[in-house]
Amino acid sequence: MRLEPVADPGWSRTLGLPALALGGTVAIAMALALVAGSNPLAVLGLIVKGAVGSKFALLETLNRATPLIFTGLAVAVAFRAKLWNIGAEAQLYMGALLAVVLGTGLLPLPAALLLPILMLAAIAGGALMLLGPAFLKTRLGVDEVVTTLLLNFVMILFVSMLLEGPLKDPMGMGWPKSERLVAEARLPRIVDGLRLHWGFGLALICALLVWVMQTRTTLGYEIRAVGLNQRAAAFAGIPVTKVVIKTALISGGLAGLAGFSEVAGLKGSLTLDLSPGFGYTGIIVAMLALLNPLGVVVSALFVAGVFVGADSMSRAAAVPTYIADILLATALLLMVLAIMLTRFRVVRG
């Protein structure tokens, strides 16, 4: 077989194939429910109900989507330049770490000053975390996939070390947990009485800013050019190395904000389970959104809904919550296949 470009993909192709991919994902979910010995339709219903079926469920989904918007944006920005940042997890923890170091009483400032300082610190921390691998890539040609991946493991050990050492909460009953942020360092709720913090608003603002950057600025154009063809970009006079480094700073900074938002908005302190893989899930979020920053918001909501829904479902039915991860991995693989097939058709010979 070989692939032949489709000159003019019609509506049936551009909409039908992704729909087919989603359908296939749902079919696999139902098959898995059957394997686990439950009624497939009931399981699907429980997932949907658990994700959006009540005010509580909806808020839970929005809260879960917040860090995913940040990490999804981080990945989308980087992948656009073909900078394979798989280290959003480590960058998230670095952001959270700096927020906790500065926000637990070190700076006696009012919220109006303290919150921006913590935000900037988290951005700087996340950015620095990716700067190393980016330099290794541009200067020495070291593959950033492996370096960013391995740094995730280093970072979590580093956080563990600090939480058992200098950052340990003396009132934490021996648990590896940091002190709580002071009140001035906490992100307020968007609406009083509703369990949704301003981290979500911040995430939406970031999505908009990244969209503007990508579509309305020179840097956005340069990032796309570098991603499409580095050599051609260099030939056209684009400073490729600089663009890659800038991309890395933006990407790492966004992931750092995820850590800040989780600590300052939701948890209030740093623990080793602050992120159940938000950095890695950000890759799925970004790919499902086709690396579009506004699409990232939608896909983060979808992905968060699947996780929250599956969690709630697995408490009611005998289907393990890992069905969510299988679903998302399947959706990711089928979707990239479907998107490719909208532009190419398979021919024999």
């Binding site: 077989m1 070989r2 692939l3 898995l32 394997v35 686990a36 010995g37 394979w84 798989i86 290794l136 020495l140 040609g141 070291v142 593959d143 996939v145 492996v146 370096t147 991946l149 391995l150 740094l151 493991f153 280093v154 050990l157 580093f158 563990s160 070390m161 058992e164 050492g165 890695y280 890759i283 799925i284 790919m287 005998a318 393990p320 890992y322 069905i323 969510a324 991860d325 299988i326 998302l328 991995a329 399947t330 990711l332 693989l333 990239v336 296949l337 490719m340």
Partner: protein
């Protein structure tokens, strides 16, 4: 000096060879894939699948070697999925690989929970035992390190020799290497680029599965979550460190394992009392990054690595 005491103890070298064994299998697997031009980031998840599948088969009553076969088959299955998506369809190898890792890991955890719903302590199996080779295992230090291991460790070394032989001494190996350097020349010879690449990914993934199975069937004798713990990613670094050559990759795995065994032992010394244990645990990962940095200048990357091939396209 405590380091010196460790270096002259036979148990240290035996541990190094044992720690190296799963890495040898998986590194060779990744090496085969990359030699054919396909970066297989599914490795981490495929090792998880292999670890679970082999252990589960033995736990359900299968013979140990059947378990190894099951682990290999499970690895090959996910390898086939990777191959279909990345070779004929030419999808991004980064995205496909990470997707396969996620899919394989999640499927394993799902299967584990479905198969053993109420278990908090994963059951242990009767795993491979040490099989000292007569005479050779009596040699001081070297004998205990190399010739008093489990059969799977011996298989790891044999596999390295076989992979090296096939890659460099057979027409098939020549074709696999050529397809990673210049697929057009291979097609001009009338060979199928698609078949060669898919075959390499499937076989390589099978070896990754066996590497994972080593953990459950020859080291920990049980399966638990997170047990692969980044070993797959380390193997990718080892392929670069080994300059895409089986012999060097084998040496790299042994060297790496020696450092790992060293850090475990140093934790027990007076040094370990002063330094947080996390610093020691970071060493393997930092060492891998360092290895990548050191070797990156000299590495001869397969020219067509990560370049999809579509017939009739130039």
């Amino acid at each position: 000096m405590e380091i010196l005491d460790i270096l002259i103890s036979a148990s240290f070298w035996a541990a190094a060879v044992r720690i190296a064994s799963p890495l040898i299998f998986a590194t060779l697997g990744e090496l085969i894939c990359e030699r054919a031009g396909v970066l297989n980031l599914g490795i981490e998840g495929i090792m998880v699948v292999g670890a679970f599948a082999g252990w589960m088969a033995v736990y359900s009553g299968a013979d140990l070697w059947v378990g190894v076969g099951v682990a290999m088959a499970a690895g090959m299955l996910f390898g086939l999925l990777h191959a279909i998506l990345s070779v004929p369809f030419g999808l991004s190898q980064h995205v496909v690989g990470l997707g396969i890792t996620l899919l394989a890991t999640a499927s394993t955890y799902f299967a584990y929970r479905v198969a053993l719903p109420q278990v908090t302590n994963p059951p242990r199996i009767e795993a491979f035992k040490e099989l000292p080779i007569p005479v050779l295992s009596d040699i001081p230090i070297v004998g205990q390190a190399l010739f008093a291991q489990t059969p799977l460790t011996y298989l790891a070394f044999v596999t390295a020799a076989v992979v090296a032989f096939v890659l460099y001494r057979t027409p098939l190996g020549l074709a696999v290497r050529a397809v990673g350097e210049n697929p057009h020349s291979v097609e001009a010879q009338g060979l199928s680029v698609t078949a060669l690449r898919m075959g390499a990914v499937v076989v390589g993934s099978g070896l990754m599965g066996v590497g994972g199975a080593f953990l459950t069937m020859s080291a920990f004798n049980s399966f638990f979550f997170e047990m692969v713990n980044g070993r797959g990613w380390i193997c990718i670094a080892l392929v670069v460190f080994g300059a895409w050559k089986p012999g060097k990759a084998l040496l790299g795995a042994l060297l790496f394992a020696a450092f790992d065994a060293m850090q475990i032992r140093l934790q027990q010394t007076s040094l370990g009392a002063d330094i947080p244990y996390q610093i020691f645990l970071m060493m393997p990962y930092l060492l891998s990054i360092l290895a990548l940095v050191v070797m990156s200048r000299r590495a001869e990357v397969p020219a067509a690595l990560m370049v999809p091939f579509n017939r009739g396209e130039r």
